[in-house]
Amino acid sequence: MALVDISDLTIGFGAEATAPPVVDGVDLSIGKGEIVALVGESGSGKSMTALSIVGLLPERGRVRAGQILFGGKDLLTFGEAALRSVRGARIGMIFQEPMTSLNPVLTIGEQLVEALIVHEKLSKAESRNRAIAMLERTGIDNAERRLRQYPHEFSGGMRQRVMIAMMMALKPALLIADEPTTALDVTIQAQILDLLREMVRDLDTSLLLITHDMGVVAEMADRVVVMRDGKVVERGDCEAIFAAPQADYTRRLLAAVPTLDDPTRETTTTSFGPEVLRLEDVSRSFGGDGFFSRQAPLKAADGVTLTVREGETLALVGESGSGKSTLGRLAMRLEKPDGGRVVVAGEDITRLSGRGLRRVRRAIQMIFQDPYASLDPRFSIGRTIAEPMIIEGGASRSEVRERVRALLERAGLSASMAGRMPHELSGGQRQRVAIARALAVSPRIIVADEPTSALDVSVQAKILDLMIELQEAEALAYLFITHDLAVVRRIAHRVAVMRKGRIVELGAAADVLERPVHPYTRSLIAAAPVPDPARRGERHHWQPEAEPQSPDMAGEWCAVGDEHWILA
């Protein structure tokens, strides 16, 4: 018999008459020791389904029908006290942002030990030993010292390990993991996924994995359930779903997933125009100058030299903290470099300020990651797009209106959107508006900082297509900042891999992605999950020990191929 058997689950907000259900007649079963992936885009109801299992629906959320059998008993009939005894002890949960699930004012040790005392009725000394053992098992060094530290002293990946340690210590029958690796870098993600798989294997725990990332699904799942608009559209074995998806939606979802096997874009170095952006030995460090702080300054950019030519996409790849976003801001002169030169469209903007800077900077525009914060909430869409033209001046009101219409249509939106406010738009639509605004001043180059990482895959694919189409039509150059190698493959002509403020490898996309030379690039590519269950386990793990230990990575540029360089 299945451990969890959900049948005809229907969840809605508010009165039945007015609000359609967010989860609509979902059936789902999870066997013992089985990994079931619940897949869908935002708003598909996958998280609601999971939260209802542990009775943690948000306020106003109500289960309207159905039953959730857990070990033969219907959890929906449980009272709050009964549910509490199930939560944690029998059903564990791991969330996307581990910082919010750990109490910031208690040490890791206190939280781990507390959980053991409450649920396992162990003595304090026993719990402590068990906690240390669990931390060690999840690969945390110095576990004894670590127990005395607070959550903020741990990195994101470490905190997720702690959460898993907590779960392992309690040996729940079911673990619900809601996007457990979405906020993590790929190399860390690979380690966390391994850890979860180990836990399932060793403790015979069942895992309900909620994710939007088909790569993670292919790596992990035994069975897959695909949800859309609150309904299950397809279910089946992982291999079967990837090999022969039945539902239209699943097929589209899989087609939208960029993979590392897609062909890279054509790159013939001669086909690009003149240089539109040049960074020469640019440096920028943060901190270290404070009156009270004695910390060494953090080098976010350390002697970086790059060029981007007309019509070309240079992808800047790296993990969080590598300095890639700072480099984008330096190119925009939103950040002033400590040293080096920034040249945009042939003009040195390093020393410019005021009017001069404003004029030259129009040649370089930016698209940001967060589609919610990148539009002024008090400006209508039309006003947002018109703003650069109004600043430029010289256009009559009707000309501006006409151009706004044209730009909206260019970005794949209807002209009637002009009167809408940002909060009325979806994330993908907002990102299109941001693109239209960037195009309004006819820039030569656009700096795109993770423009698709907050979007669903199907939306991401459309935004990338739009960007490529615009590039081909208008010979735009992109400096495309991302952590996602599969996206790089789709859009980049050349790739620069960044680590700790320095470029460690630079070359044509095909060269860098298919014949990486630098060990760091290799580890990044090896860690990226492949959305193909048949190739599970081919992934090679990067061992942090293998990393060269020299802290400033002083090195020389060496050519390892045609226009392909590494820092060695």
């Binding site: 900077r361 525009q365 990651q369 990148s374 430029e392 009167g419």
Partner: protein, 295 residues
Amino acid sequence: MTQATDTAAVGRDARQSRTPFVLRLVRQPAGAIGLAIVVALVVMALFAEQIAPYSPIKMAAGRPLTSPSLAHLLGTDEFGRDMFSRIVYGARLTLQIGLIAVGISLSIGTLIGLVAAYAGGFVEKLLMRSTDVVFSFTETLIALAFVAVLGPSLENAMIAVGIAGVPFYARTCYASALSEEGKPYFEASIAAGAGHARLLFLHLLPNVVPTMIVIATLGLSNAILAAAALSFLGLGAQPPTPEWGAMLSAGRDFFNRAPWLMLYPGLAIALTVLAFNILGDALREALDPRAKERS
């Protein structure tokens, strides 16, 4: 408020699907109650001549210290002045004091906060550190010091209360502006070549205004209370001005024989303060652009 007209026309032809602001406000019970009391106060203040049966300063309108009756709804004071009329006229003074004092705090405070957040560097340090110094004293103490220098009068009390409130508004505005400045839309506007005036008044100001309106509404009650306190101490409104704080103070001597002399001015102050407080809370809800779709 600096509302831009330049690009507003662009989107005007498209559909407007927003719930009117007032509707969003009164849909909340707190908003409706707060607004009702405030509207009643404003009506009292505007039509004091028509509402009040007697002149607020006319002595011997009735016998001194009569208890509330049909002729004198809230009784009379020691000089035989009609308390109801004095309270009604007091509403006018109270609103005046509140609005002027808050107006002073709000305009100076917003300006300091915006400029400090936008300019950064030395200007920011200078403005915010001096604000901190003033902030470290109690508002009432600063107001007292100002009145002591300027001399006791209603006008000086307003100015004193207004200036004493500046640091609070400056800091709120500063914090709010800083968080707006860090958002991508602000940087996108910089990238589009926007100048100082546009960034300050079209992007920063409109986005801090909702916060400032809310704290100004909450601050109104604070200012009214502070001014009443000054008057109570004899440093604000002078006799025979029908100011609630001063009336409260004058009523102390007759508390045993005529408790209504303290009860009604006190109630009036409390009710006004409460009304502005709950109205402020309701405003915050209603002004949140993301809350518009909620029912």
